[in-house]
Amino acid sequence: MTHLSIGIAYIFLAPLVGGLLMGVDRIVSARMQRRVGPPLLQPFYDVAKLLQKDTIIVNRLQNPALVCHLVFMIATGFLFFEGSDILLIIFLLTLSAVFLVLAAYASSSPFSHAGAERELILMTAYEPMVLLMLVGFYKVIDSFSFYTIVESGKPLILYLPGIFIGFLYILTMKFRKSPFDISISEHAHQELVSGLTSDFSGRSIALVNIARWYEDVFLLGLVYLFFSFNVLGGIAAVLLTYLFEILIDNTFARFKWEAALRSAWIVALVLGGGNLVILYAFMGV
């Protein structure tokens, strides 16, 4: 019952947390660039304004696809915090991501089309690592459920250091941070205009932003699992991870897609696969 209520709490609180985190992100990034930056609540103001704007669409299919993107993203997080099988949940996350890509394909500008292709390449790049991470969890805890992992009290980070670093690597892709912001970017210097979202406007863009808040909280929930043996330490580690991603974002130049794909696969193979093989060797097969 408590698990269910945490899941429901996710539905209502995740956008608040996600929005605040994004506000923090914008302030911290600004300070790194010697700017003052927007107010903390700026992301909420943005979305409120977007919702009032006219929505112009290119294809009848694009907005419904975005609604599906949002709904399945919420479902992903809800089921995760409700304690369902994470392996199934990851497939749901993929489904949500596919809908975002489909919306971009439907909107048919050359920029959103190229963004969609690149987003698919990114998905191909990060998926092996995500799967290996879950397998690592299972190997240590023997379960795919959030609460079983938390209640086991095992310091996963000590068993899975390679997998954690590998996951940080692809987390940069999921957070759409430089050097991997090749499909959408919030920086002004994007050669693809705004990539995937080039042809979204008004409500459409608001939907994309809200879905992102949900996604960020879900992803940080995955990070938390590595440190779940200690609640405060875990939360601290999650925040540090977030700040680390902001730092990376501001210090790296964008990769080409070839480099993104190749490096992510190599990292997954060496750090993820290596960690897994060692785990199998030491913990018995």
Partner: protein, 634 residues
Amino acid sequence: METLIFLVAFPLLPAALLLLVPNNGVRNIVTRGSFAVIAAASVYLLWQGIGAQPAFYSLEAGLIDEGMFVIEVFLSALIFFLGVKYRNYLTSVFVTLQFALMAVYEFVYAPGVAIEHNLFVDKLSIIMALIIGIIGGLICVYALGYMKDFHSHHHDMKDNRPFFFFVLFVFLSAMFGLVFSNSLLWLFFFWEVTTICSFLLIGYTKTPEATRNAFRALVMNLSGGLAFAGAIFYLASQGLTLELDKLITSPHGLVMIPVALMCFAGITKSAQMPFSSWLLGAMVAPTPTSALLHSSTMVKAGVYLAIRLAPVISGTYVGDMVALVGGVTFLLAAFMAISQSNAKRVLAYSTISNLGLIIVCAGIGTAPAIWAGIFLIIFHAIAKSLLFLCVGTIEHRIGSRDIEAMGNMFAKMPGMAVMLLIGICGMFIAPFGMLISKWAAIKAFLDVGTLMSPILILILAYGSAVTVFFWAKWMGKIISANTLFAPRDPMNDQISWDEWFSEWAHTVLTVAICLAFPLVSQWLVEPYIAGVYGKDFDLTKSMYMITFIMVVMVILVPAISFPSQRNSYAFGTAYMSGRNTYPGRVFDGSIATRKQATLKNYYLQSFFGEDKFMKLGVVMCSCIILIMFGVAFI
């Protein structure tokens, strides 16, 4: 037992009728009627078999055996003759060797061999029979409309439809025989008949390319058949059993050589590397042939045999090698699918890849792995058949099977687009079947208990990431719009009723099986596994609810959100760097010209090029197969 014999024998009746009465009206009626009868009979078999124990039957085999031997002599002579005529001598050599083995068996060992049960039916046979009867039957119905169109498009080819339909129904009969045979001799007989049927179907158009590819398929499958004959010869010469049920409960050491030979036969038939090229070559044939070979027959015979043998090879080095062949094929075929823009080739590579995964499950052979493998067979048969039929129809309408030509499908042929999308979703999106099976496969691989476990998980991790890429970009092409309000294609209304019926039936099945899979698991798959492994097992009970909710969501959310799109939104044109634009990506060029921007998908040739991966796969899998025989003989 009557139902079994009926299912094997009945398709021969329409086959003969269709061959002898070359009248289009008669063909339509006979084919539709036979589909109804065959499908009903396979459902009746299900009704009889639910809750029943596996049943074994002994037939008075003397006359049947002799009849089969005569047919084998005739077919061998035919292939030998064809091999010489088309200067494909390897075919003749293989068939001679195979015939020699079987003739020696027939005259030396046969009198001493007593086969107790020739026929049997268990839950796995029932599943296969349903796939063959319903999916195979639907493909025959589809072929009515498709072949009519095909010959109106290709006037240069001789219209030999009576023969085509004759082979289709013989094929179904042989497949039924294959899944009901307990005697290895009968199994081998039907095995060879399916090889020859596929040879005839691939070569149907008689173009030089078709003939060449038909012979390639024949040679590769005959090499598997030769291995199968070798297995029978070995078993008989060692005085071992020639019955499937006894073979899989034999002590490991004794039967490893014949089992490895039969696994080899399964690998050739299910187009694993290095034998994948025959299935790719089979694409030259008309679409019903491809659909049949890829979904309900032929390749499914290969994986069926592998799944049957799984209990014997599970946990042995032979099993590990079989799993590795499947794993390498799964991964590399998925890579190669990315680089293809020809829709049929994408489907072919994806079939090879999925069969690879089934072979992995068979090679691992633990109870959860077999669960995953059987569900992969079921889901793949339905979704892949649907995709082939859609691509066939679209090809006749738009004159191309290139994915790049399938833009704007929603405006031109909305029904077709929806079916194609559902088929694609069925292949890779949660919680449709293939993903459920993949999920089960991951869980199965986790608990293998050897170092195979991390290797297979790595293979699966990369393979499934790539799968998402090539399916999603195809979906993107379908829903992208070249022109906003394209007129509905008038050709859309010319699709024959037979094609529509068959495709919609497939679509409904694709969705229905996702909702019904807990029942399939409870009634058929779990009892089969409990019977073979002697223990109950509930991999899935915990997740029925969550997958059910997911299926309902995946159907409902798009079904609600797409039609309920607000009409108040204004339509705009795509952004083109600030140029003046018009619907359909038309923009103002310089000096008052108007141009249209065209978009193409990524195929990443430099990363996932066909040549290098095909070579790599052939070399790797050949080595693994050699090692497999090595460890079998030790």
